[in-house]
């Protein structure tokens, strides 16, 4: 009843191609952004920020990157963890080499290193498709796990073999390192994620996004209308790896604080793949929904029995987590391959005509 586009007339193509052509959507999204920027840092406690919101945003960013590659351009990749590791370690080296430079800038720059690596691992995509390409990207996953674990230069010859995030300040406020507050780190992550998500939305609705989807849906026809398959796929690999790289850098710098290369193992690649499958392939909002889902499910499983007065031990929670996640992935693939984003779209369509659906 309240969600209607009646009376909102579009008289120019510019207004017709706005990001959110429906006024209610526009206000809704502004409300969410305003809420997360202003209200959440004021009211949320450290547990919420550190355990839920920061990992949610970082995983969203990584899922967004993978969704560009897999959901939009149709190139299956299992190397996300590897590309994230490249971002994290290059950020660590950059921070070591340029201690005076703003760390936020360095996080954004470190994405370019993984973009370059992504380009190289994208080259086989011209010849191989589907599962075979996934196997080729697995090479990136295992190679970088090995490289960053073995070559001491990458972790500055630490005895622990881990990278420790140093304290870096921005206008006298500690942004990274042990003394940075969860609030600060949350706001930094939120700014970067919002900015990069906006760029992703813009790219996928323009020429490049259409070229990606064309390659995904029918590569032969795409080639015949003048889309170059290799260039288009490589752009997708580069941009996707950039997002993964920045997500990896944030994962260590804004979330973990210190990390060994094991945090970027194959499990994280799969986890992010599950996020976009559950969230919705080929949808920006799907990346956020999927990340929220996968970050929240374990927390829910941990806390729900306790709230209901049925305490269960941590190991059982772990098992339940795997079982429920596995079942959900199978169910989503069968019943709604387009994921939560599609369910949201259907709900919106229903809402538009509610309460008179005829």
């Amino acid at each position: 009843m309240f969600y209607r586009e009646a009376g909102q007339f579009k008289t120019t193509y510019i207004s017709d191609q706005e990001l959110f052509p429906v006024k209610q959507d526009r206000w809704g999204i502004l409300l969410i952004i305003g809420f997360s920027f202003i209200v959440i840092p004021l009211i949320a406690n450290d547990y919420w920020l550190q355990a839920i919101l920061i990992p949610f945003l970082i995983f969203s960013l990584a899922a967004l990157g993978l969704n560009i590659l897999t959901g939009y351009a149709g190139q299956l990749s299992l190397g996300t963890g590897g590309f994230m590791a490249v971002g994290a370690y290059s950020c660590y080296k950059l921070v070591t080499i340029f201690p005076e430079t703003n760390v936020i800038l360095l996080i954004l720059v470190s994405g370019f290193f993984s973009a370059g690596i992504g380009l190289i691992f994208g080259i086989p995509s011209l010849k191989i498709k589907g599962f075979y390409l996934a196997v080729a990207t697995l090479a990136a996953q295992f190679f970088f796990e090995w490289l960053f674990g073995r070559v001491k230069w990458f972790y500055n010859y630490n005895d622990s073999g881990a990278i420790e995030v140093p304290v870096r300040k921005f206008f006298d406020i500690a942004v990274t390192g042990p003394i940075a507050t969860a609030q600060t780190r949350y706001v930094v992550v939120l700014c970067i994620v919002t900015f990069l998500a906006l760029i992703a939305v813009n790219i996928v609705r323009g020429r490049i996004g259409r070229a990606w989807m064309a390659i995904r849906d029918m590569d032969i026809a795409a080639e015949l209308i003048g889309i170059r398959p290799l260039t288009t796929k490589l752009i997708a690999f580069a941009i996707s790896s950039y997002y993964a790289g920045v997500a990896g850098a944030l994962f260590v710098f804004a979330y973990l604080g210190s990390a060994e290369v094991e945090v970027f193992d194959i499990n994280i690649s799969f986890e992010i793949l599950f996020m976009i499958i559950i969230g919705g392939l080929g949808s920006i909002s799907g990346a956020f929904l999927g990340a929220a889902f996968i970050v929240l499910i374990p927390i829910l499983i941990t806390n729900l029995p306790r709230m209901l007065g049925m305490p269960i031990n941590a190991a059982t929670v772990e098992h339940f987590n795997f079982m429920i996640l596995g079942a959900l992935i199978v169910l989503f693939l069968i019943f709604e391959p387009h994921g939560l984003a599609k369910i949201w779209t259907i709900m919106r369509e229903k809402l538009r005509v509610w309460p008179f659906p005829y």
Partner: protein
């Protein structure tokens, strides 16, 4: 509007194509002139679609040459054919199923759009201007093909006849000089066929596009085309105007047949 058949636009010279030991095309030559509607007919497996695939660079013939707009070539990639102004539709619809009608046709404008990643990422300035100019062009095509109402529908959900129309729209969006239509009317009912015929005639007259048509509906072919060639087993067995072809005994034996008179 007066339509003038001009000089040779596309010349095919002694093309031979084989896959392993199978000869798909043997020594085929013909010319297509500017602004004409040219048809290729023949029984199933005669090599008609292979011929189109050779013209737009998808297959590379072992022998022979093709010249388009005075440019000779032995081999080229589909992308180059698109740049030179050759567009086509497919026998079994090859649309981008997950995209809306509008986006499918907009994708056809890909070669006309040039703004770089930076502006694309901002969706502002040159990128937005370019998007609007091309949107306007695409809207003209949508009006022309009378598919306004399905602008936002994902094409995978559309009925077959409309999908064919969207595919034609996508090819038109490239503003091609040569349009290759591979059985544009296959599987359509009489009304849809009439619409499609009207579109083909209008495209030819309004945009001055040269059209190469493969079609099995002889009524349509004979009415639409100015000239046609007949293929059989990868060889050209006849070339001429519809009237000449209709009376050609070789073609009647190979393809057209005669009405039964018991």
């Amino acid at each position: 509007m007066e339509r003038k058949i001009g000089e040779t636009l596309l010349g095919v010279e002694h093309i031979s194509l084989s896959f392993g030991g199978v000869k798909a095309l043997t020594d085929i030559s013909f010319n297509i002139r500017e602004k004409e509607v040219f048809a290729i007919i023949g029984p199933n497996g005669a090599g008609k679609t292979s011929m189109l695939n050779v013209i737009n660079g998808f297959y590379h013939p072992q022998q022979g040459e093709i010249h388009f707009k005075g440019l000779h070539r032995k081999q080229m990639r589909p992308h180059e054919a698109a740049v030179q102004g050759i567009a086509r539709t497919f026998q079994n619809v090859a649309l981008f199923k997950g995209m809306s009608t509008l986006n499918n046709i907009m994708a056809g404008r890909n070669l006309k759009m040039k703004t770089n990643l930076f502006w694309q990422a901002l969706y502002y300035g040159p990128a937005r201007t370019e998007e609007m100019i091309n949107r306007e062009y695409v809207e003209d095509i949508i009006d022309f093909l009378e598919i306004q109402s399905i602008r936002r529908t994902p094409v995978g959900k559309l009925p077959y006849g409309l999908q064919k129309r969207v595919e034609l729209g996508r090819a038109l969006a490239m503003a091609p000089e040569l349009l290759l239509l591979d059985e544009p009317m296959a599987g359509m009912n009489i009304e849809e066929k009439q619409d499609m015929c009207r579109f083909i005639i209008d495209i030819n007259e309004q945009y001055g596009t040269t059209i190469v048509l493969i079609e099995h509906d002889m009524g349509v072919v004979m009415d639409l085309s100015e000239r046609l060639i007949v293929l059989d087993y990868g060889r050209k067995i006849a070339e001429g105007t519809p009237d000449e072809i209709r009376g050609n005994q070789v073609v009647i034996d190979a393809y057209l047949g005669v009405a039964h008179t018991n």
